[in-house]
Structure formats: structure tokens, C-alpha cells
């Protein structure tokens, strides 16, 4: 019963979560010395973070051929409210716009580049579904039937193992055998019919 309620809630939610795009899900760790590192970058299906125009010390830029096309800032404090200790590092997840695998993401601290990520890593066309690749950024390496943590719920001729039940239209019902009780009932019906025929023609 609870599963049905959750499913209904999710269906309702999917109608609420609107205007979603293909986004780059970017995990970044900021350190107190001003440095930063990329923990993960994956193309996915999600809402995109709007640009924050207000300049802060730590920022994220997206560039192609030296031209910035997206810029936002991240408040980094290491102050965890109500904890008695400061965080040794701060991890954030951002959803950046996905324009393809060209260019790069740059993290800045006081306008200096502290880390960068080459978006070409999202697809290297080597026939294997590698760390940063998935069916969105690299369909050549990550076929739809390969599990890559991203569900593509579209009719594309292949069942995506990353999709929940009933989400991918390609994941049709597999052939299931009829229940055993049906066979028992069928055979008994045949026997009853035979007995009736025997009674009708033989015993008379």
C-alpha cells in the first residue's frame, strides 16, 4: 500500500517538476586554503541552476574556446550551523547547463583558476562506458542497455536498466508463463468433459 502511495506521489511530483533540461551534475569539493577539486561530472536530466550575478570569492565558469557562456558563484563558508566543529572541506553539487562535450568548466577563487575540467572527458569514443560517460553524453560508448545511473525514458529501441519500473516504453512486458493453477483447472475441466461424454454415450 505504501509503495502505491509513494508511486502516486512520484507521478504527481513528475508533473510538478517542469521545465527540466539536460544538465551537468557537477560535484565539487572546496578546501579552506582556497583550492578545489572536481569529484564527479555527469550529464543528466534535471533542472538547471540559474546564474548568480552577485560576485563572490568562489565561482564556476563554463567556457568554449576562451569565451565564457555561463557563470555562477558559490558561497563557501565551512561553517556548519549547530555543529561545534568547522567542516574540513565543503562539498557542493551544482546543475550546470549542458551544451555538449566541448569546452570546459573552471572553478575560480578570487578570480584565479583553482581547478578545471575538460568536457571532452564526457565521451572518449573508446567503446567502453567510462567514469564520466553515460548514455546522454556518450551514447556511442554507453549503449542504452548499459547501466550508467541515468535513465533515458524515451522510445529508442532499447530497454534502459537505469529506469524504474514502467518508465521506459521500450521495457515491455517479458513473456511470463501462465500460472500452474490455470493448467490444473484446465485439465480438470477436460476430465469432467470426458466423464460426461463417457456417461452420455457409454453408460446409456
Amino acid at each position: 500500500m505504501r509503495r502505491i502511495i509513494v508511486l502516486l506521489a512520484l507521478i504527481l511530483l513528475s508533473t510538478i517538476v517542469v521545465a527540466q533540461d539536460t544538465a551537468l551534475l557537477v560535484d565539487i569539493t572546496f578546501l579552506p586554503d582556497g583550492s578545489a577539486r572536481f569529484d564527479d561530472v555527469q550529464a543528466t536530466f534535471a533542472g538547471i541552476d540559474h546564474e548568480s550575478g552577485k560576485p563572490l570569492a568562489d565561482g564556476i565558469k563554463m567556457e568554449v574556446d576562451g569565451t565564457t557562456y555561463y557563470q555562477t558563484y558559490v558561497p563557501v563558508t565551512f561553517v556548519l550551523m549547530d555543529a561545534r566543529e568547522r567542516m574540513p572541506e565543503m562539498g557542493v553539487t551544482r546543475r550546470l547547463p549542458y551544451f555538449g562535450n566541448r569546452g570546459g568548466i573552471i572553478i575560480t577563487h578570487d578570480d584565479k583558476t583553482v581547478a578545471s575540467f575538460d568536457l571532452a572527458q564526457l565521451c572518449n569514443n573508446d567503446g567502453r562506458c567510462d567514469r564520466f560517460e553515460n548514455g546522454i553524453s556518450c551514447p556511442a560508448d554507453c549503449e542504452i542497455r548499459v547501466a550508467d545511473k541515468v535513465c533515458l525514458p524515451i522510445q529508442d529501441g532499447g530497454c534502459d536498466p537505469d529506469c524504474g519500473q514502467g518508465l521506459d516504453p521500450d521495457c515491455g512486458k517479458r513473456a511470463e508463463p501462465a500460472p500452474l493453477s490455470l493448467y490444473l483447472f484446465g485439465v480438470m475441466m477436460v476430465l469432467v468433459a470426458l466423464y460426461w461424454l463417457y456417461y452420455l454415450f457409454w453408460r446409456r
Binding site: A46, G53, L56, D82, P88
Partner: protein, 339 residues
Amino acid sequence: MRRGQITLFIILGLVFVIIVSLTLYLIDVQQREQENAALSALDRAPILKDDCEDGTKNGQCGKDRPLQCRNGVMKPMCSDCGCPTNELCNVDGTCKGRAEQAKSNFTFYILPVGYAPDDREFLLRAEVLKAGMFATMPFTDENFVIVENTYPDGDCLTITRGFDRHVQEWLQKQTGHGLSGVRFEDGIPLYSYRIIGISEQPQDEARCGCAHSLMYSPNVFVGGSSCGFSPHVVLHELGHTIGLCDEYDTCVYDETNKYMSQGFGHPCLNGKPTADNSDCTDICCSKDAACCDGRFADKKTDGFFNIMGSGDVPPSRRLNSQTQAVFWVYFCGKFGVCP
């Protein structure tokens, strides 16, 4: 016929029925398995590789982005070929103009940290949490989703860092959609969701507190110590995520107020605890504990303290009028959670 013969006849008949049924059933199972195996083999059929009519080689991008030659047919493949300027790569390979983020409703994702999603204690805590929210704002059951995927327990100070990705991946698997993006108003991040991770692990309160969060963050961690079971503790953390500061220590308040001004360009949205409006004086905490209960809600004679004070109960806690107003401006004004 004698009774014994009739009984024997019935037993033999039943045995016959069972044997025949089982045989038919097993034959059917075998046939279906063969069909499924054939279907899987068909799924893995090799792809023929041909160049396209306009001369574009297989796998190469055409002149018009995002088209790419795939097995003799030009298909949109923006992930490989990119999109024209100011267009976004869509999930089906096509490009489209940048979509505006809609002002959606508000969702609480209640995440089991260490708990199994169907753990009775976790579900009970989730219900208590919801009841606390219902008493504060006109939320309904539709605003709450239990994440049916356990987040591994870990260090209380760094545990919230993976909440976003964990819920994103679970939600995307279940609905095809992910979490909404953040929008900004005058540099203030506005997330249309909160992820409330409820941990089963009783952590070191002197180090980790009952619960914690970051200012304006979408993530809240609620510990497994007894104080983490109180709904007002979750409301307190929720207050931080909408710009309210701690009221249990004047120095902590001053420190938070300072970096709020530096980081977000505005001070705490609640007033400082003083000798007049709270049971605090101008003292700083010297120990790993709250100094005072905090500000009254709303008068000393009310007998209640505001939820942005300490986690201690007693005294009784509720939202004072200023905190209530901040909640209303945020949830009703920004996200339409209004009566």
C-alpha cells in the same frame, strides 16, 4: 463399484491431473524462456555501419549541428556535435532554446541515513517531522516524499555532501526527472526542495549537535541522538536554510551575521538575542553547548521560546511572530505554499 475402488479412482484421477498439469506448465516455462532468450539476442544485434548520402562519414557530425551520421542516417546528436549558440542539448539529441525554470511547488525529500527505507523508527520520525511542518505552514502530504533508497551513514560533519546526488539519482530513476535547479534572488539561492537526512546513528552531540545544516543550503542532517527526534530541531535547521541565525549565543549570532553579510549581502533575517528579548545576556559560549534558551516567543510571559534558540526542551518551543513571518515570506511568497 465398491467405495474403496471409487476412492482409488479419485486419487488416481487427481494424480493424473497434477502430473499432466505440471508437464504442460513446465513445457510452457521452457518455451517462454526460449522466446526471452531470442528476444535478448535480438536486442544485442550488431549495428550496421554506413556513411550518409551527403558524404558525411558514419559517426561524424554534419554541417548543421547537431546532426550526425549514424548508420547511414543523419540524426540529431547534440552530445557529440554540440548545439547552435544559446541552445541547449536536449535528452533526445535535439537542441532547444534555454528553458526558463518554472516556479514550482515545494518538496521535502526525507532521506533514510543508515536506516532501511521501511524501518519503523525511520517512518515514525518522518511522520513526527511532517506533523511539525504541518503545524507551521500549510504543507500537505504531497509536499513530502520518502526516498526509498538508503544513504550510507558516515561522518556527521561531511555527510550532507552527497545528499543531492543520491536523491537526484534515485528521483531520476523513478520519474525520469531530476531535482529542480536553484534560482537566485539578489544573490540568495532559492531551492524548491529540501533533503532532510534522518540518521539512525547516535553521534557525538558535543561535536555534531542534534542536527545541522548550512545557511541557504538545501540539505539538512538530523542525528540519531534523542534530541534529533524533536520536530522543533528540524524546524530550527529549516530556519537556517531560509536565512535565520542561531539565537542561543550572542557571539555565534554575531559571527553568523558577519559572514551572512559578506557571503550573501544581507544580515540574519531574525534579530539578535538580547537581555530584553531573550534569556541570554551578552555572553559568549565557552563550552561546546548553547549558552541560553534563546529569544522569547513573543513575550517573556508567554512561556514559549522561539525555535531558533537551543534544542533543549523544556522550555516549550514555537515560532515567534518574526520567525513565522520569515517562513511565510519564503514558502508562500517564493514557492506558493499558501493556504
